[in-house]
Symmetry: C2
Subunit: 172 residues, 2 copies
């Protein structure tokens, strides 16, 4: 996950991912590779929730990991490596206290999602992205692609090579 | 949200919700009212994410709010009150630090979802649940219905009557 941190704090290098032919059964007429050409998958926000997390520090966000049909099926079936066509999205929002909720609870304890920060995608194509573990990485801010140090992404994900380079675990 | 807290710390009263006729277009052949009869909607875990949150204190959880098609459409269209058939699910997991993520980030900052705690549902039927703002409330633990003080749910949700008694806001 260091790429997230790196992105947040340091300058980033230019995103240079070639196009690829990669399709998903989950979104008719949409080629998932397009996400690496800077096009948000039209239905990504309806993808199934994989898990949630909170990052403190410079990120200071609360986040959800979503998966397209191929990714979620692989998670639930325990399929590793993930099949080509799997796409995992990490959506994040500012981590903010909720005065409204705290009032309802009777004391300060509630933190909710504020403004969106950025969205990152991992797209599986074992042939196209062979040099980065079979995954292409990309990032969007305010609906537009934003630069990402893909080599840093890959190097950070190396410790979870035994889970096909994916940190997020499925939460039932 | 006090009912959540109340449930977590105090004894609870008996759940006594009558059955109702309430159907959703989102899950063919499934009548959403069944959730109030103790049957988990078969596809709820695939519902669209509405938002995420973290509760400190006795709850100490990280949670996701999911909605069926009717609920999510209402959120996105800004429809209030929610139409009959809307169902909102709040799924929660233990809030646990991730040593694995922290190692990748290079310092302690990451909290992830641990074991599931409980799931709460709000089911909209303005006629059937007229005495509690048009919403039926229910709760599950480990896949089974668990007791809930519905009157406490309703009274806690009263402050957000202007949002049809729903705390969670949609996170884009």
């Amino acid at each position: 996950m260091k790429h997230i941190h790196v992105f947040a704090v340091l300058a980033v290098t230019t995103l240079s991912l070639g196009g690829s032919i990669l399709s998903s059964a989950s979104e008719e007429g949409y080629d998932n590779t397009a996400v690496l050409d800077g096009k948000l998958p039209p239905a990504y926000r309806d993808w199934t929730l994989i898990t949630v997390a909170h990052e403190e520090g410079n990120l200071n966000d609360i986040r959800a990991v979503l998966g397209n049909d191929i990714a979620v099926k692989a998670y639930r079936d325990g399929t590793l490596p993930f099949p080509d066509g799997a796409v995992i999205a990490r959506v994040a929002w500012a981590y903010v206290p909720s005065e409204e909720n705290n009032k309802a609870f009777g004391h300060a304890q509630s933190f909710v999602a504020g403004a969106p920060t950025h969205i990152q995608f991992m797209v599986k194509n074992s042939r196209e992205y062979a040099t980065t573990g079979g995954w292409g990485y990309t990032q969007f801010q305010q609906g537009k692609p934003s630069k990402l140090d893909v080599a840093a992404c890959f190097s950070c994900h190396l410790p979870v090579k035994n889970r096909d380079f994916v940190f997020a675990r499925y939460s039932p």
